[in-house]
Symmetry: C2
Subunit: 309 residues, 2 copies
Amino acid sequence: MTLHQPIRHESDVYPTRFADHEQIIDRVDPVLWSTWTETAPISREQAESYDKNGYLILRDAFSADEVRALIQSSADLRGGALDGNEDVVTEPGSGEVRTVFRLVQNSPAFDRLARDSRLAGVAQFLLGDDVYVHQSRLNYKPGFTGKEFYWHSDFETWHAEDGMPRMRAVSASLLLTDNDALNGPLMLMPGSQRRYIGCQGETPENNYRSSLKKQTIGTPSQKALRELAEAHGIDTATGPAGTLIFFDCNTMHGSNGNITPFPRSNAFFVFNAVSNALREPYAAPAPRPAHLAHRGAPKAIAPVTGSLA
Amino acid sequence: MTLHQPIRHESDVYPTRFADHEQIIDRVDPVLWSTWTETAPISREQAESYDKNGYLILRDAFSADEVRALIQSSADLRGGALDGNEDVVTEPGSGEVRTVFRLVQNSPAFDRLARDSRLAGVAQFLLGDDVYVHQSRLNYKPGFTGKEFYWHSDFETWHAEDGMPRMRAVSASLLLTDNDALNGPLMLMPGSQRRYIGCQGETPENNYRSSLKKQTIGTPSQKALRELAEAHGIDTATGPAGTLIFFDCNTMHGSNGNITPFPRSNAFFVFNAVSNALREPYAAPAPRPAHLAHRGAPKAIAPVTGSLA
């Protein structure tokens, strides 16, 4: 395994993957990049809450008919509509579909969802810029055997391994199953987005092949996580199917495993500001492949309105 | 690995560990073995709730001083008071204490706790008989890396591998850390104690050596668990340190893993009715060792009252 000596870009304000230490610094970028006005797509309280906590949970953004239609689209994708497609990850034993990458390329219904003003329009507002889709996927985690996902900041990986320069990206996750505290919901540390943990541990080649299963590189120390959790607490993003969660690219998050019979599924979109397009990786030998990070010229989304049902 | 052909006792009303099938039957024993009167150690509502749900959560059974004293006793035990004792299980890497078996033999403070009328006296009432300690242990599960424990009925194992004849035992768990929905609390299926799942899979020799780490024999099928969960739902036994949980020997339970920084610790006592003393295992080649199941003549506890602080 070849280890990489990180290239320190002159302008790298978020260094990480240090050989021998961890470094915690303040974020230098805004969280909310727009000033709220009455034309904003979310309320003033919602904007302030996102700025303060680093996430926003919307439980009634979609009608019951829209949620049903999206769940049906998800079932179609998992039911074999994409057989043989290399963006589809299946379980070795059962052949069950676990992940569909490049969701917006693979599904007209989910492409339409990403471009909806309730997603792309809100992302534009939060990031104060035109946006494009950095990554998209459909996740399906079974009951009984759902594995945990350890604490991490998405930005740390996107910066180190994809070359995302600054904290001007936001994830949108639409729940396609009911999620409560017991079936391994997304856990977030409110306010953690204001601190940046440059992690200890250099990036091995092709780190993404193992990190998607179990992330070990680019995760904070137990000491740092304990301090963050004590300072900020831990909240969960729970709700019925149809719940929409926005969370900032640097909000510390993770999820426990799930032995309950109840699966978890969500459609996941990362919006990045067009002004924040990818460069060379800041701390990895080579960029991750296209299904994890869109590297072409960013094409701004024109948000659309109307029902998805 | 030698597999065992289960001995079917003539009187075995709870057969299990079948070679080729699973069998779900109704429980033939009462859950609450006493009739409630005004001299009972718990309220009528509490007795009815235990009978209906198969567990009872008491959040103010102990004073703050008592809880502090018990936490201190736990810290002393984990801090090296029992170095070299074979009842102590440590983590291979760190040497940290994970479990202290035969807790009542190893700690005067916890022996006193077991004999307290708030534990042994309540157990006597629930089981309608004198009681003795079948198993006792101090559990410490660290934060960040706490593993899940899969769904099981304790009675199924105690019957198959220890030779416990009937469902006339109850566990008492005293929380020594705060436990919320996110740090892997005990999950229980209310009402599940009324059904008995005879499991598929014969018992390997020395099954306990692996089953304490990850139970695979004596666990229900996913189909059976899904049906139980849909019929009964899933509840959690959460509360601050000092919370006392009684749960019937056949209540289906388990716990998720825990990536939060917050550890879980509890003192755990199994009370069995003296009339329900162990026989030969019902479905295993040999009984489990003494630290998992007391096999001597049952010595009835005389419950004591007074402060533990």
